[in-house]
């Protein structure tokens, strides 16, 4: 089933001259994890906002082309209905805390209260999410007094708790240390396994390469390439667009330049380890035969 179909979509925010998105043609399927990558101001957040209907339903501007979400024109969606169907974790953790709840537990429960869920079910659901995200130590704390990283986790938990079919996540690990980033990605992978559709903006390419099914690369508001993760990261189009790639892919490129290419270009660390191990075995056999 098609999650989103964008045809010739351009969007210019009100009071600006330059479009944030230019002539985007894209089809997103349900049940996959899409990573949106690109340099700063390439339109990643605007694309996510469009998929969630925040533009143009909330942030005004000029939208041209056709954007369909789950088979219905974006402009025909009721914003309240969209908020139930598509969860959205924003980039800035400091504006995602409601400011009206006394504890993290209540903060995570807010979305469920707004959906009219009975309190006993709310408690069970929040307990599950707290356990899943290992937030036990934070539940009794005041959400307004958390650090950036803790707020980011709480904001993430709050959206996960709402159990939307589609989750758009804008840089969920920007304030997190490597260990917490890995933990968040493991949760995202589990969400995908449970059948959720995920659209994720992320700058940590190694994690994108490891977890994403498909990658959408943007630059200057234009779609550079969309496709399976390994295809996108090995595409020469990325080089021309100044878009970063996973460290192991860069390493493989460097090996090509020194005349020692690997048998294929890896995009994940596991692939790279396997190829290098094979190279080393081959190398030592060659040494022995000499």
């Amino acid at each position: 089933m098609v999650l989103a179909a964008l045809r010739g979509v351009s969007f210019t925010y009100a009071y600006t001259n330059e479009p944030a998105l230019r002539d985007i043609n894209l089809t997103l399927e349900e049940g996959l994890l899409y990573a949106v990558i690109g340099p700063n101001a390439s339109g990643k957040s605007t694309l996510c906002a469009l998929l969630r209907g925040i533009v143009p339903l909330f942030h005004e501007g000029e939208l041209t082309g056709t954007a369909e979400i789950r088979g219905r024109n974006l402009l025909e969606w009721d914003p309240a209905e969209l908020s139930r169907e598509i969860g959205y974790v924003f980039e800035n953790p400091f504006t995602q805390i409601s400011g009206i709840k006394e504890t993290v537990f209540e903060e995570i429960a807010l979305g469920l209260e707004n959906l009219g869920m009975p309190p006993e079910e709310v408690i069970d659901r929040v307990e599950q999410v707290v356990e899943q995200l290992e937030l036990g130590a934070l539940v009794a704390k005041n959400p307004n007094e958390l650090s950036g990283g803790q707020r980011q986790k709480v904001a993430f938990a709050s959206i996960i708790a709402m159990d939307a079919d589609v989750i758009v996540i804008d840089e969920p690990t920007s304030q997190l240390d490597p260990e917490s980033s890995d933990a968040v990605f493991a949760i995202i992978a589990n969400l995908k396994k449970s059948g959720k559709s995920i659209v994720l903006v992320e700058h940590k390419m190694d994690l994108v390469a490891q977890y994403a099914d498909r990658v959408i690369a943007l630059n200057g508001g234009r779609l550079v390439i969309e496709g399976p993760t390994s295809e996108v990261f090995t595409s020469p189009l990325l080089n021309a667009s100044d878009i970063a790639r996973p460290a192991v892919t860069e390493l493989a490129e460097a090996l090509v330049h020194v005349g020692r290419p690997l048998s294929r270009t890896p995009v994940t660390r596991a692939e790279a380890a396997e190829l290098i191990r094979a190279r080393m075995k081959g190398g030592s056999r060659a040494d022995r035969s000499r």
Binding site: S83, G87, F90, F105, E113, P118, N144, M162
Partner: protein, 269 residues
Amino acid sequence: MSSESGNAVAFVNRFRTYVDRGNPIRNMDPIVVFIVLAAIAIAPIAFPGFVAAAIVCLIYPVIALFAGVAREFLPTYLKLFLVVGLVLFVLRAAFIDGEDPLFRLGNIAPTWAGVEEGARFALLVMAISGAVTLFFNLATVRYLMLALELRGVTPRATYVILASFQSIIDLGRHARTVLEAQQSRGIETQGNIIVRARAFFPILAPVFLAAINQTEERAVSLDARAFNSNVPHTHLVMLRPTRPRELVVAVLVVATVLAAFIGSAVGWF
């Protein structure tokens, strides 16, 4: 079971029962507390002189004592009396014209009428500010808003009030951050009042602009939490249902105050 997981269970279990603030007065319906205190606060207006206002000012410490909040309430209330009450009394007493001045100090000639009027005005203000202070010790705005929401006030209205209180704290925190950033760049922020004012005013613009900028993001974030959903919202926190005796107290206090105003209007006092 470890003590940490035991604490977590106890923490979660508190949402399965009514909110217990550990005292019958503090457990009262916040709307009832608000109505009773508001009625008591305005009651002295119906009476001539300052005796009624003085009695009301004395009622608050008694309520605070029974509610177990005297330690929090009394120091604040005494400070209010000493700073605001005293200034209001002196200003009114000193400058209200009348016959037979009690003494003269240059152009200032307080009279007995001025002292009486000053005492009445200062005590009326103290009666009202005492009610506000006591309310914040007895109930929380959060529970008051929840009680109002349960009686049909829209979540948007209650959110605006609660978020406004939080935004005051956030603005203060942000102002401190900007001030510290300025300090680290070598800008003088400590010293006499002029130095402090010179350092303080330039931070107002970035602090308020950032707050305005964040408002939009907050609104969208709230929308992402289904705040605008059309179904009736539920509430994790359970307020105790209003007890009949609380209603009786509220009705009696309001009726008494109403009677006082009617009496005042028809000239009983």
